[in-house]
């Protein structure tokens, strides 16, 4: 934890009068994988969206490599270039082919020549076993394939950090595995990731650290083994108890 990548301190966020993030502190080290778990409405997705500036927060600071993400020195796209995000509902552009989806940002935002972007895109697609779908359109792909394309699209701008927002929640159970395999592989390659997930088994497997959120606060955090087998906070115990009863752990 000496090499801090993301540093969140005192982040507070209201939606109207509703407090969704309550003085959250969290540091994420380089190459670390942090899983955020908790019930719906606990603020985990909001926290994730705050990290790359998609959602604004009211108090506190979030820094990347020691520089606040609100610092003007990042420029208009600096933060988006360094922090990629993948959504639950894929959000691929339906009118563009897979290749067009993943080369749009490199070409239009980062000024990479089209031929170079396509070559890089093909490399990435091949690496994730999606090479033969380069010319397919999103609607022709399964949910799992679409989500893999969405991950490749986020990687195409070479981010330092990848945020994953319930990326398997919309998938049929038999398609979850292929997406999780991609994430495991990214971990093996040393990608820094913050993952919001309901897949407790996966969190236990892939996370270096698991944070349990409730009511907009991080109530408990620690290595997955410790947190899942011997949670200290009664609310964490209750949450995990319900998960176990539902057969998800």
């Amino acid at each position: 934890m000496t090499d801090r990548c993301i540093s969140i301190s005192g982040v507070t966020k209201y939606y109207g009068n509703v407090l969704v993030l309550d003085d959250v502190d969290l540091d994420v080290g380089r190459h670390e994988v942090v899983c955020l778990i908790g019930a719906s409405g606990s603020g985990k997705s909001t926290l994730l969206r705050c990290i790359n500036g998609l959602t604004e927060f009211d108090h506190g600071t979030i820094s990347l490599d020691g520089v606040s993400i609100e610092d003007p020195s990042w420029g208009r796209n600096g933060i988006y270039r360094r922090i990629g995000i993948v959504f639950q509902s894929y959000n691929l552009f339906p009118h563009m082919s897979v290749m067009e989806n993943i080369t749009l940002a490199p070409i239009q935002v980062h000024g990479v020549p089209a031929s170079e972007a396509m070559a890089k895109g093909r490399e990435l697609l091949d690496a994730f076993g999606m090479g033969r779908f380069a010319n397919a359109y999103p609607e022709q792909l399964s949910g799992g394939q679409q989500q893999r394309v969405a991950i490749v699209r986020a990687l195409a701008t070479h981010p330092q950090v990848l945020l994953l927002d319930e990326v398997t929640a919309a998938l049929d159970p038999e398609l979850v595995g292929e997406v999780l395999a991609v994430i495991r592989r990214l971990k093996a390659e040393g990608m820094t990731m913050v993952i919001v997930t309901h897949e407790m088994g996966f969190a236990r497997d892939v996370a270096d650290r698991v944070c349990f959120l409730d009511g907009g606060r991080i109530l408990e955090q620690g290595p997955p083994k410790a947190l899942f087998s011997a949670p200290e906070n009664p609310r964490t115990q209750k949450f995990l108890q319900r998960i176990i009863e539902a057969g998800r752990l």
Partner: protein, 296 residues
């Protein structure tokens, strides 16, 4: 029984088991009665209604006189070349106006969907514009523009009634097309904005690459419907002296006291709009199918 068969199948059952698998149900064949009776009833009903109307009209005491004045084939034939030439002008005006309306309407819709305090003047302008020109009858605008502006003798601008009448059509119809484009833009899922922003696209790049292509595809059927309406409304330019099909027909009527030229013009409009309406229906149906597929 079926369960057993399927288990054997999964083990790679041979042709013997294959034969035991129940065949898919044969496609239900409609009997002759089922196929033809509804069609026959439809045709009969349409025939009865229209036949009844035609009978009522033609049996009126004054019908022979009306038939001579409105349905005189000879008069139609004589007036036809000029009416057709006028109709060609209608088509030209229609095409030019259509391009103008789509372009200007799209610009208005973009103005209105811009976010951020700097664009507030543009948003206000658009709201006022749309309220104003949707609230005024097109006919009134055509009259005001067609008679009023040429009289101003504006330097550098043409003085023809045709030019200003067409401008009035574009100004009025663009207010409608702007609202159509806006509804298409708003129908695009929020996730598309989030994804674009997260990739670093600017507001304008998001609009151009992610939102607009989907928005326009969403509203093509509605826009075609607008085009059909416009095709008929360009005839309004006849009131400011533009020699279109209706104007030419009226000129003939004024000279001969025979109204058949109007019927000739009416037929020309039908010939143009009916295929367009069918095309609109066809595209709307295809579009609905595409959306349903998207849901599944």
């Amino acid at each position: 029984m079926t369960v057993e068969v399927s288990v054997q199948d999964s083990k790679g059952g041979g042709p013997v088991e294959e034969a035991r698998r129940p065949l898919p149900p044969a496609r239900k064949k409609a009997s002759a009665a089922e196929r033809y009776v509804p069609a026959a009833i439809s045709i009969l009903m349409v025939g009865l209604v229209f036949g009844g109307v035609i009978y009522a009209v033609t049996s009126a005491e004054q019908w022979p006189r009306i038939a001579r004045q409105f349905f005189d084939l000879n008069a139609m034939a004589i007036s036809f070349p000029k009416v057709l030439a006028g109709f060609w002008l209608n088509i030209q005006v229609w095409v030019v106006c259509l391009f103008g309306i789509m372009a200007w309407g799209l610009v208005l819709a973009l103005f209105r969907s811009l976010s951020g305090p700097w664009f507030a003047p543009l948003r206000v302008f658009t709201v006022v514009y749309i309220d104003l020109f949707r609230g005024l009858p097109v006919l009134l605008l055509v009259l005001i523009f067609g008679f009023g502006i040429p009289a101003l003798n504006l330097p550098g601008l043409p003085n023809s009634a045709l030019f200003w009448g067409a401008t009035a059509m574009i100004i009025s119809y663009a207010a409608y097309s702007a609202e159509i484009f806006r509804s298409g833009i708003e129908a695009v899922h929020d996730g598309q904005w989030a994804a674009s922003r997260a990739l670093g696209l600017s507001q304008w790049q998001t609009m151009r690459f992610a939102i607009l292509p989907q928005a326009i595809r969403n509203v093509v059927p509605v826009l075609l419907n607008l085009a059909v309406a416009l095709q008929k409304d360009v005839a309004l330019l006849s009131v400011i002296g533009v020699r279109d099909a209706v104007r030419e027909a009226q000129i003939y009527t004024a000279q001969t006291f025979n109204y058949s030229s109007l019927i000739a013009a009416a037929l020309l409009f039908l010939v143009a709009t009916i295929p367009l309406a069918r095309l609109t229906d066809y595209i709307a149906r295809k579009d609905r199918k595409r959306r349903l597929q998207g849901v599944l």
